[in-house]
C-alpha cells in the first residue's frame, strides 16, 4: 500500500508505505515508512509472562523502543510509555489475562515525524499479530512554523525550524484524540487548527490499512 503526496504541499502527508508480516519469528510484524522516516515493529503475544509482572485481570503490555544509534535513555522511556499507554487503550488486554504482549520498536531512519510513524507501525503490527483490539489508531504529526503555518508530517529540517511540533493519535471509531504530545509554544487557537488539519488525515490513514490486509489475507 502506498499513497503519494501529490504536490508535496504543506497540508499533505509524505508518501507512506507499509508492509506486514515481514519477519518470520515474531507473532506480528510491520514496517511503516513516512517519506524517509521508517520504523520496524515486532509483536510477541499473548506469551508467557514473568510472575513479577503478571496481572490477574489483564495482559501485561510492554514496549521496548530501540533508537537507531546509542543506548536507550530517558527520552526513549518517555516514548515507550506514551506508546504503551496508547496501545493499552486499544488492545483488549482483558481477553488474555496472565500473559504478556511485547512490542519492540526499532527505528530504522528518522527523517521527521518519528513518533507518529512509530504509532502507525505499532498499530499495523498489532493487526498482523491478530490481537483483539477495540479499534484502530492513526497518528499524525504537524509542525507550526514561526509565522503560524501548519505543516503536516514535517521532515526533520522542518521540525528544526518549527516553533512547535504537535503529534496526535486518533482512534478509528469516533475519530477522537486519544494521545496528544506537543513541543514548543502555541496558542489554544493554533492547537485546534492543528487538531483539525491532522484529524482529516487521521481518518484517511485509518481507512487505508484495508489495502494491506487484502494482500496478506489472499
Amino acid at each position: 500500500m502506498t499513497s503519494q503526496r501529490a504536490d508535496c504541499g504543506n497540508l499533505e502527508l509524505r508518501s507512506q508505505s507499509c508492509e506486514q508480516n515481514l519477519l518470520s519469528r515474531p507473532d506480528g510484524s510491520a514496517t511503516y515508512c513516512q517519506g524517509d522516516t521508517s520504523v520496524i515493529v515486532a509483536v510477541y503475544g499473548p506469551a508467557e509472562v514473568k510472575q513479577s509482572k503478571e496481572f490477574l485481570d489483564k495482559a501485561t503490555l510492554e514496549v521496548i523502543f530501540k533508537p537507531k544509534v546509542g543506548i536507550p535513555g530517558c527520552s526513549e522511556k518517555f516514548q515507550e510509555r506514551l506508546i504503551r499507554n496508547t496501545c493499552e487503550t486499544i488492545v483488549l488486554t482483558a481477553l488474555h489475562p496472565r500473559s504478556s504482549i511485547n512490542i519492540i520498536i526499532q527505528v530504522m531512519h528518522n527523517a521527521g515525524s518519528l513518533l507518529s510513524c512509530c504509532v502507525n507501525s505499532t498499530c499495523m503490527a498489532l493487526l498482523d499479530a491478530g490481537l483483539p483490539m477495540s479499534c484502530l489508531v492513526a497518528a499524525v504529526t504537524c509542525s507550526l512554523s514561526c509565522d503560524g503555518d501548519i505543516i503536516l508530517d514535517p521532515t526533520s529540517q522542518q521540525e528544526k525550524e518549527a516553533k512547535a511540533i504537535l503529534t496526535f493519535v486518533f482512534e478509528s471509531r469516533d475519530n477522537e484524540i486519544i494521545t496528544s504530545n506537543t513541543h514548543g509554544i502555541y496558542s489554544i487557537k493554533q492547537y485546534y487548527s492543528c487538531v483539525e488539519a491532522c484529524r482529516k488525515y487521521g481518518f484517511v490513514s485509518c481507512q487505508s490499512p484495508l489495502g494491506t490486509t487484502n494482500t496478506v489475507e489472499q
Binding site: 508480516n21 515474531p26 507473532d27 506480528g28 510477541y44 503475544g45 499473548p46 506469551a47 508467557e48 509472562v49 486499544i90 483488549l92 481477553l95 488474555h96 489475562p97 496472565r98 500473559s99 504478556s100 493487526l127 498482523d128 499479530a129 491478530g130 490481537l131 483483539p132 483490539m133 477495540s134 479499534c135 484502530l136 482512534e171 478509528s172 471509531r173 490499512p209 484495508l210 490486509t213 487484502n214 496478506v216 489475507e217 489472499q218
Partner: protein, 233 residues
C-alpha cells in the same frame, strides 16, 4: 446474507445488521467478533465469514495460538510433575496432561511418555482464566488416533494455513496422498506432523504445505503436479 460477508473487516467496525436482534434471533459469534453494549463489533482484522443459519466469524492471519476447547493440537512434553505432564502447545501457558488421560491407563499401568515426546491431544479445558488441559482419549475412553506420536517430522506454520488445510474444500492433502502415501496429524495450534515412506517424500510434502498458504485451488494442483514429477525423475 448480511452485508460485508467475505469482505475485509477491521477492528472497531460495527456490524449494524448483526446487531439487529430480529433478523438473526439465534446469532452465534465466532472468533474476532464480540458484543459491546448492543452492537456487534469486530475486534480482529480479517475476512468476515458466514455459515447458515446465523454463524459469523472473522478469518484472521495469526501465528500465536490461543487455546480453544475441543481443538486437536500437537504439543511437546516439557516436564513431568507428579501426576501430570506439562506440554508446550505454543500458547501463553503450558497445557497440563494427566497420565490417566491415555487409552488403557490406570494408576498401575502408566503410559510410556518421555520428556520431548510429541503428543497429539484434544483440549479439554481452555479458557482465559485457567490453565489449558489436554487429553489423549475421547469421552468413551478410546484413543481415536490421539496419543504419543513417534517418528516422522513436525513443523510449524501459521494458524490460517492449518485451518485452510483441514477445511473440507482444500484438496491439497488428498492430492498429495494420491502420489505419495503418508500419515499426518494436523494440530490447530499451527503444527503439522508428517510421516512418509522416504525422507524426500516427507520433505516434499512439508514444503508443499508451507507453500500452499496463499495459493488458489488451481495453483495447488499445478504445484502438486510439479512436485510429483520432480520426485520421479
Amino acid at each position: 446474507m448480511a452485508a460485508h460477508v467475505n469482505e475485509v473487516v477491521l477492528p472497531g467496525d460495527i456490524l449494524q445488521e448483526l446487531s439487529d436482534s430480529e433478523q438473526y434471533p439465534k446469532l452465534r459469534l465466532g472468533p474476532g467478533l464480540r458484543i459491546d453494549v448492543d452492537n456487534v463489533v469486530v475486534c480482529k482484522c480479517g475476512i468476515l465469514r458466514f455459515r447458515e443459519p446465523s454463524v459469523f466469524w472473522v478469518d484472521t492471519h495469526q501465528k500465536r495460538y490461543v487455546p480453544v476447547k475441543g481443538e486437536n493440537i500437537l504439543g511437546i512434553v516439557i516436564s513431568k510433575a507428579g501426576d501430570v505432564f506439562k506440554v508446550d502447545i505454543g500458547s501463553s501457558e503450558m497445557a497440563t496432561l494427566s497420565y490417566l488421560a491415555f487409552e488403557g491407563a490406570t494408576k498401575r499401568n502408566r503410559p510410556n511418555v518421555q520428556i520431548g515426546d510429541l503428543i497429539y491431544g484434544k483440549l479439554l479445558v481452555a479458557n482465559k482464566d485457567m490453565e489449558p488441559e489436554i487429553v489423549c482419549i475421547d469421552s468413551t475412553g478410546r484413543s481415536s488416533g490421539l496419543g504419543v506420536i513417534s517418528g516422522g517430522f513436525m513443523f510449524k506454520c501459521s494458524l490460517g494455513l492449518v485451518r485452510k488445510i483441514v477445511s473440507p474444500d482444500c484438496q491439497l492433502m488428498k492430492l498429495l496422498g494420491k502420489h505419495m502415501p503418508y500419515e499426518t496429524a494436523v494440530g490447530l495450534n499451527g503444527r503439522i506432523w508428517i510421516k512418509a515412506k522416504t525422507l524426500s517424500h516427507t520433505i516434499a510434502i512439508s514444503n508443499a504445505v508451507c507453500c500452499a498458504e496463499y495459493m488458489s485451488k488451481k495453483q495447488t494442483e499445478v504445484m502438486v503436479k510439479q512436485i510429483v514429477s520432480s520426485q520421479w525423475t
